[in-house]
Symmetry: D2
């Protein structure tokens, strides 16, 4: 049984508590938040969990094995570092840290102390992403041409980060998981209209093998869109996460270049066949992830969403920020 202390009970905290407290093998021992009103909600919903406004007390508590860091990004490093120093495993909200240097320091610290870091890349545990991973690994899609993701809606504006740091970690962590390689360079564009942080932004990620990834994030969209297109040379895929029942559509469509003797131009021929919607497991992603955290901590296995995965995402975010500042210049990672 792993006993967990939760730091932060804001928007996402209740989901973390509910999941870690209802799976076998874990128990939420304590919740900390600086806001007493948040703690009142914990007391009502989970009378058995102790609460505190003093995080250091919980981080150092002897009856606690792991700390879940569910606070704003800027505080992740400090809290996670303290927790690792106290010998606790950590489960950290995405994005992992504010800088890749911080990420590196935490990874090294955890390695030295033989502790587990898991970054909450929840989507990796969704039925949709697991199914897409399976399709890519089994080479159903073939070599990939592009990964094109749109994640837009109205708000919620963050005070400390721009829309790329807020929304793109979802897409970047999914991309990092699905595609074995990492991008070599990043180009980002965007503007800010309301609070000085970019609220409309675009990221292009260049890969070695001519693959390109693109991410469109926007806090000022009147409609919510969560759509990812993945084009492969054998099949193409559309993932619409807002669809209740038909999240993934796999198209037997493609184009092929053919040379013809004596003809200079390449002839492009097209293929268009059936479409197929695989059944996708509907288990709550965070529940699977919570179970997986317990497994990784117990067995000492490195998670797929370990500190390295978290750091790779932070490196891409840093590159995007640098490109934004250089007005779209390509930034190598």
């Amino acid at each position: 049984m792993i006993f967990i202390g939760i730091i932060g009970y804001g928007y996402w905290g209740p989901n973390i508590v509910r999941n870690f407290n209802t799976i076998e093998g874990a128990k939420v021992a304590a919740v900390c938040d600086k806001n007493p009103d948040a703690l009142k909600k914990v007391n009502t919903a989970w009378p058995g969990i102790r609460t505190s406004t003093d995080c250091s007390e919980i981080i150092s508590a002897e009856d606690i094995d792991a700390i879940a860091v569910v606070t704003p990004v800027f505080s992740h490093f400090e809290i996670a570092k303290k927790a690792l120093q106290e010998g606790k495993h950590v489960f950290v909200e995405k994005p992992f840290t504010s800088t890749s240097d911080q990420a590196k320091e935490l990874i090294e610290l955890a390695a030295r102390k033989n502790l587990t870091i898991m970054v909450d890349h929840t989507f990796l545990f969704s039925g949709a992403v697991r199914k897409i991973k399976e399709l890519i690994d089994q080479e159903v899609l073939g070599n990939l041409y592009y990964f094109d993701s749109t994640r837009v809606n109205l708000g919620l504006f963050q005070h400390d980060i721009n829309v790329i740091w807020d929304l793109a970690p979802h897409d970047l962590s999914i991309m990092d998981y699905l595609i074995k390689e990492s991008p070599e360079a990043i180009v980002a564009s965007g503007t800010s209209h309301l609070n000085g942080h970019e609220d409309v932004a675009y990221m292009a990620c260049y890969f070695s093998n001519n693959m390109i990834a693109h991410i469109n994030v926007n806090w000022l969209s009147p409609v919510k869109v969560r759509t990812t297109l993945i084009g492969g040379c054998k099949k193409m895929l559309v993932w619409n996460d807002l669809e209740a029942d038909e999240k993934i559509k796999i198209y037997d469509k493609g184009a092929e270049a053919k040379t013809r003797e004596g003809v200079y131009d390449l002839l492009i021929s097209y293929r268009s066949g059936d479409m197929w919607v695989p059944k996708v497991d509907a288990t709550e992603a965070l529940k699977l992830e919570a179970n997986y955290f317990v497994d990784c901590v117990t067995s000492g296995t490195a998670p797929i969403n370990d500190g390295q995965a978290g750091m790779r995402v932070v490196q891409m975010l840093e590159a995007a920020d640098r490109s934004l500042k250089k007005k779209g210049a390509m930034v190598y990672i």
Copy 2:
């Protein structure tokens, strides 16, 4: 009555012939194509129209007042120049020319000879774009935050141009028409997979007033998408051109930054009200444009889609190409 000679009877030519031949005030006198099979189709469909494989014959024919250039881009300049030299008005397919220098030369030539140039930016005459223009001009949307357009489908790969030159002229000409200003700089990203021309590409256009435009074009998409989001400070709009009846949706949604005394962070408040789908005129855009061409030629008025408009679009395409070559560097126009 304006008598028109059509050069080129490929994919788009039949629509040009049908529209110019069925409106009042114009008559298609001749069609030229190098491919005799194409001309056979003309003879069957329009027995009264004379045909020829020799374009210069038609361009210099005395009974012809105007030439419609419906050929691949690389030949626009040469044909249009010859036509203007022969004293004919010209109606040129989009994109206007292969370079902005060519565009400039044609504009000057037409001005000297007092002839009309119209570039076939067909979408400006669609019910949807006319309605959006009205909404913007009447300040229903308020100051614009962004213009975000996606135009993707499977093929048709072009042999001589990349996907930006093929598909983005639609979006750029619409953007140029709707927004009074022109972009100051452009950042483009893209890769090619099949025939050496970019087949997946993205363009960001920066405007002086913090507005950003973005265009996503792709020849390797399994699904056809034709969607433009336009965010304004008063209203936001989604135009889905594939919808039969509900092409434009106007959302009474927005976000506003408020300062509060003693509070450092800006408070962002959201507004979310009704949505409204205006009825959009369904008249064929090309028919209206053909009528407009006749009017402009007859009255000597400069069209909204004149050579200057055509040149602005070509300048943006050139900037995109330069940015692509510089791997995303911002290119000023």
Copy 3:
């Protein structure tokens, strides 16, 4: 403060407990279910609520003011009757009772004892139905032509009732609320394929003023549909309850018959204008209904979803059953 005893903790029970226990002015005092496993769930989720497998104990408990009957239909009458006899107000799941005679007996009993009956026609409290009611009452739609509702999905097959008794009470209670009149006659068709109860069925309801209502219910549909069309002489409306944000669409469309002098046939002219999607309140319907129950009990006001409303729905269901047995013959109510 109203203290409530809940009888039945199956599919819907948890929602009833959660809502009645979290609003002001009410408290769930006890939950009864014959299944001890169900009660274990109550104990985990709501440690403060006492549980019992013996309903009569709860029904007669002195500290309880009202009984919510959340059991299968066949048991509603008996439980509700006992509760009324014990002087408790009752909140009864839909459909109210198995027969209209039972409904009448309960209504009379409650009247004699001055107690409140509320039938759980939850949809009346949804933002969508409240908005439609407003539109009809304010004569935005004009006189109604038809009410056409489709409510189909795969399962859940009920053991004791057919698909009309299972699904149509939603549509019938909504129809009864929206339309001031009651149908004069009903025609029903249907067949059964698996367990002897009709699993695919259709109901037409004839109203005095030429209005017709139609309800399509089906347990064997591969897709879930929750769509209601309401046609009025001034406006027409589509309510798609599965839409997240655009539940109600109001069309400025219509047809009108005109006579022309000397022409025998009526000329029908059509009107097609804008479409409008009003913002719909997203408050949980059951929460509003729970509050309303407390208000009605406290003030002694008759609810809109009182025993009479419940009885009218049961009468329509009985008529449908009779029509089914007579193979579609019209049954007058």
Copy 4:
């Protein structure tokens, strides 16, 4: 080469002329319409086709092999009869005739004279219906539970027939083709609001094996719907004819009744797997049908959409009318 005379050039006539005149093996020799304006359109579009306002001239013309009857229903019988008497094959618009007695007389006449009757059940030749036929015949769907079709839109009101006679022939002819058996009885409901003919109507068709078909037709719907659900014991299917690319969705979903020892109630278990969208041939249905007419006339083969098929549809329409008059009473065929 079959020479064809077309009687009637209204809404559908131009399609008939275009298709019969562009396939190999047929030629439209003449078009007749009482309205001289209609004939002017023929002259413009098809200068080679002779026109007349006198139908009998065309029906008896020696150079004509077959007559296409594209007039309002009430005139089908008279024109087709005259054509058959003159030794011409006939291609008749749906519905075939105004009464089944008329249909019978035409069938007998054609048989005596060894002539072909084809009723224009165009949908049988659409890619979607051909694919569904294949799926049913290959027992992919298994035994059918139901066939549920919705065909609604705003107008066009007909002057001489109600909405069932106008729209349901599509569904009835498709149903008749897909399902080997014919319905035993029909129940219809409906009302009229504008011109005295039912404009909102519903038909239930009972088959011997517990299958039920239902057709929902409406001239007063603000939205256009063309959706058919077909439930089989092995697979279920949704055909949405308004979808551009994904017309047919096949669901691996179902329900099964299981008996358990000692348990009275049947246990229903559900199956829910992948969904599959087969590619559907996009050839114009009427073109295939025109070719098929030429083949049938040339070879003397009876068409799938022969007079018998036309008569079966008329019988169902007659039964629906009788049921409407009897206020929903079941009418046996």
